[in-house]
């Protein structure tokens, strides 16, 4: 009895929390529309502190910071929103606006046609979507194979067999894509530079030579870590070490 009431209470609490969050979200929207961007940011941060997030939340935070001319923060939250909704055109559009404010111009390395094609193909769906697709084709394969086994006429048997083999192949390919996407996702550790101007060192210590200089808002890939230093790579292939206080990892959820 007591247990039950606790469960009910928790359920209610959850409902209340949810209601609170959406109320806060609406308040934030109103504040943003009035131009009170700092207030809107406070509301959004409160929602985040309560353990909830969404692409829309991060996108709105990015917008608010953009309005306050806070470059690194706005890019940081746009990129975070893109992690949750990779192909959202609105987010990409506003991220473009925010990236105009950055100081660093980094040429991305040109990719070969083959790797671009394969990247493009694997990136059409998320690895979870690929996984669902693979499971679906596996089911189809099993059904078709059983049908092949049960059919009496040889013509039907042939069609069922061919169809089952095709679906098996598709299932294997989609699972491969899912795996590639997944390993890409795991290897991908983007971060945003927050320091206004920071020299990137050749080695993970302050006494080494400075390789190049980055400014706030630049997106980098984190490759390795040593103590409080992180090895980063730019889009143009340059690598160096930077103290971890100067950047913020995007994937902290």
């Amino acid at each position: 009895m007591v247990k039950n009431s606790i469960v009910i209470f928790l359920l209610f609490l959850g409902l209340i929390c949810n209601a609170q969050s959406s109320a806060l979200f609406d308040q934030a929207t109103a504040a943003y529309n009035d131009g009170a961007y700092e207030k809107a940011i406070d509301f959004y941060k409160t929602i985040m502190d309560s353990g909830e997030h969404s692409a829309a939340l991060y996108y709105n935070l990015g917008n608010s910071y953009y309005k306050l001319n806070d470059i690194p923060n706005s890019i940081y939250f746009y990129e975070k929103a893109l992690l949750l909704a990779p192909n959202d055109s609105e987010i990409l559009n506003n991220l473009g606006y925010a990236q105009q404010m950055t100081l660093d111009a980094i040429e991305t390395l040109p990719e070969t046609g083959l790797s671009r094609l394969y990247k493009k193909t694997t990136a059409t769906l998320s690895f979870d979507q690929w996984a669902y697709l693979g499971v679906g084709f596996m089911f189809l394969f099993v059904i078709l194979y059983i049908l092949f086994y049960y059919f009496q006429y040889s013509s039907r048997k042939r069609w069922a067999f061919i169809a089952s083999l095709v679906s098996l192949t598709i299932a294997v390919i989609t699972l491969l894509f899912a795996y590639i996407q997944y390993s890409d996702y795991k290897a991908n550790r983007p971060a945003i530079i927050f320091a206004d101007e920071i020299g990137i060192q050749a080695e993970p210590n302050t006494s080494s030579t400075e390789v190049f200089v980055l400014h706030a808002g630049t997106k980098v890939q984190v490759l390795e870590e040593l103590n409080d230093w992180q090895k980063i790579r730019l889009a143009d292939g340059k690598t160096g070490w930077v103290s971890s206080i100067h950047l913020k990892l995007l994937k902290d959820f």
Binding site: N18, S21, S22, F25, T29, Y32, I47, M48, G51, E52, H53, S54, A55, A56, L57, Y59, N60, N63, S64, Y66, N69, L82, S89, E90, L92, N93, N94, L95, G96, Y97, Q99, Q100, M101, T102, L103, A105, T108, P110, E111, K119, F127, D128, W130, A131, G134, V135, M138, F139, F141, V142, Y145, I146, Y149, Y150, L175, A178, H215, K219, A235, F253
Partner: protein, 591 residues
């Protein structure tokens, strides 16, 4: 000669009598020596001068000297703008009698009832000199009376702190300079130098080593040391033509002047340049020393794309303005920026350079949006306060109101086709209104246990299906087993009610009878409950059912009827049930 002098003195003396004595503010009485150091074969002239007439002049004893001439009196008096100036002097010419140091003691005089005393002075008499002053040539006199001096404003400046060197030519009133030309212009190695032109030579009065001289400023240079440590300034040499009075006099008693050329040079000067302190030196310090103001301004802050604006980085103030690089403007990489145009308006004066230097950047935004120009720092060293100062410009945000937008410069897009994906007329989007929140910390389907279960479990269905098919085939091929199975099934279908009532005599036989009739109804499609037993056996025989089965069936029906009126044991009931199922299956095969 002395006679002439006497006449001059006398006439002046008489003239002085005509003038009324005027009260001067203060009475002075002093002794002047022509030199403080002389050779044994030279002569010394001692003058006692007072600015008011006095009595009872009492000269000192001149120990160590012999009086060659004197005392001779001279009086001069003049009126200038109503102020009377008066001077009277007693002169002696002395010859030393021995080498060594001597003191000329005090002389006394009574002026206006008070006794005044002159100050005693020391004189050093050295061995006989080659050229006694009264036999000096024009060159020697020029040497003694012509001096070139380099005056340095500061001998221990910081690096890049302005110092000035002023070259002055001191000329004694007794000689005159008729011409000069520089022989060697010094090179200021390790200095940044700027010459300040001297347009007109103005003779001014000054003193040099305590004696009255006239001087002229020949050259002024502002120097900025570019190196720390001891730096030497090369001397300046001049060739000067001078007119020197000789001891000869012309017919009218005036002196005959001799002309001579003289090379004078200012001595080497060493400047000890202090390095700029390294303590607290800002990182962005680029050598500016002085006192400056710093600003970054833009000609406009809001404009349309493809219009241009000017961003000006400007430093104004005093210091080495020409000697440091202006801080560079940090601009967003998406802005088109041209090489800055450098302008300077710097005046160099004796106190150093002052004015302003500026870099003007032409900026052309190509896309709509906001472009912040971040604040940039400028540091300089102030040698007066000996501290570093860092000034930060204000951050400026440029608003580009209209124009194409550079949407989607996502990292997935390569740099080459960056320009191609410009979506014209896409606005900065408003925030999203649907929260669509989910708890932070997502779990993924891929690689989860559920994923593997869903992926692999269907595969198990294949062997199951195969086994099932095999079993079914085996069952189909087993004929006898099938018949037994069918009978059992029939019995189950029709006798299930009777089986339930097994042991309960009345209801068991009612159910049994009903079951037998139901069976016939199902098999023959005829309602038989109202038929007689003969009719039933006839019907069954018509259907080619054998005799034994028919009699068995009829016997069962009879048993059912009989059971209503006579006691039946449980064993008999069981027997009847089994018989019924046997009969039903037998008939079923034949119908």
């Amino acid at each position: 000669m002395d006679f002439k002098k006497g006449i001059v003195f006398l006439s002046v003396f008489l003239f002085a009598f005509i003038l009324k004595a005027q009260d001067a503010a203060a009475v002075t009485f002093e002794m002047k020596l022509s030199k403080s150091k002389l050779g044994l074969n030279e002569r010394l002239r001692v003058d006692f001068t007072m600015n008011k007439d006095g009595d009872n002049f009492n000269p000192p004893d001149f120990a160590g000297f012999r009086v060659l001439m004197g005392p001779s009196q001279a009086i001069s008096s003049s009126w200038i703008n109503g102020v009377r100036s008066y001077s009277k002097s007693y002169s002696y010419t002395l010859a030393p009698t021995a080498k060594g140091k001597f003191t000329i003691n005090q002389a006394t005089i009574v002026i206006g009832g008070k006794t005044y005393k002159s100050l005693p002075e020391n004189i050093e008499v050295t061995a006989a000199v080659d050229k006694p002053s009264d036999q000096m040539t024009a060159d020697d006199v020029a040497d003694e009376n012509l001096h070139l001096v380099a005056e340095v404003s500061k001998t221990d400046p910081y690096m890049n702190e302005a110092i000035t060197v002023v070259y002055k030519l001191y000329v004694s009133p007794s000689i005159s300079v008729s011409n000069y030309q520089p022989l060697d212009n010094p090179k200021y190695n390790n200095f940044w130098s700027q010459d300040i032109k001297v347009t007109s030579l103005n003779a001014q009065n000054g003193t040099f080593k305590g004696k009255p001289y006239r001087f002229v400023i020949l050259k002024r240079v502002v120097l900025y040391p570019q190196k720390s440590g001891k730096l030497e300034i090369e001397p300046l040499s001049l060739d000067v033509t001078v007119d020197v009075p000789t001891s000869k006099r012309d017919f009218f008693g005036g002196r005959v002047y001799a002309q001579t050329n003289k090379t004078v040079s200012a001595g080497n000067r060493t400047i000890d340049v202090k390095p700029l302190p390294l303590k607290n030196q800002p990182v962005n310090f680029n050598g500016a020393v002085g006192d400056f103001d710093f600003s970054v301004t833009t000609s406009k802050t809001s404009l349309n794309a493809t219009e241009s604006l000017q961003a000006v980085v400007e430093v104004t103030g005093k210091g080495n303005l020409k000697l440091f690089k202006l801080p560079e403007l940090d601009l967003p990489s998406s802005l088109e920026v041209y090489e800055p145009e450098f302008t300077e308006g710097v005046r160099t004066t004796l106190s150093g350079m002052q004015g302003k230097v500026s870099n003007s950047y032409t900026v052309v935004p190509a896309f709509r949006g906001k472009y912040p120009l971040p604040s940039i720092p400028f540091s300089f060293f102030n040698p007066k306060t000996e501290t570093y100062t860092t000034l930060n410009s204000e951050e400026i945000v440029i608003n580009v109101l209209e124009g194409p937008s550079s949407a989607t410069t996502n990292s997935a897009v390569t740099g080459l086709n960056k320009q191609n994906v410009i979506a014209v007329n896409s606005q900065f989007n408003f925030i999203k209104l649907n929260a669509d929140l989910s708890p932070i910390g997502s779990t993924y389907f891929f690689t989860s246990n559920r994923f593997y279960l869903f992926l692999l479990a269907p595969l198990l269905f294949i062997p199951i299906a195969i086994l099932f098919r095999k079993k079914r085939d085996a069952i189909a091929s087993d004929v006898i087993g099938n018949k037994v199975k069918k009978a059992n099934r029939l019995a189950r279908r029709y006798l299930s009610k009777a089986k339930k009532e097994l042991g309960n005599k009345d209801s068991f036989y009612v159910a049994l009878e009903k079951a037998l009739h139901n069976y016939l109804k199902a098999k023959l499609k005829i309602e038989t409950s109202e038929f007689s037993k003969d009719k039933i056996s006839e019907l069954l025989l018509q259907k080619n059912v054998d005799e034994a089965s028919v009699t068995g069936f009829v016997a069962l029906l009879k048993n059912c009827e009989a059971a209503r009126y006579s006691p039946f044991s449980d064993v008999q009931m069981q027997q009847d049930y089994e018989k019924a199922s046997e009969v039903i299956s037998l008939i079923d095969k034949q119908v």
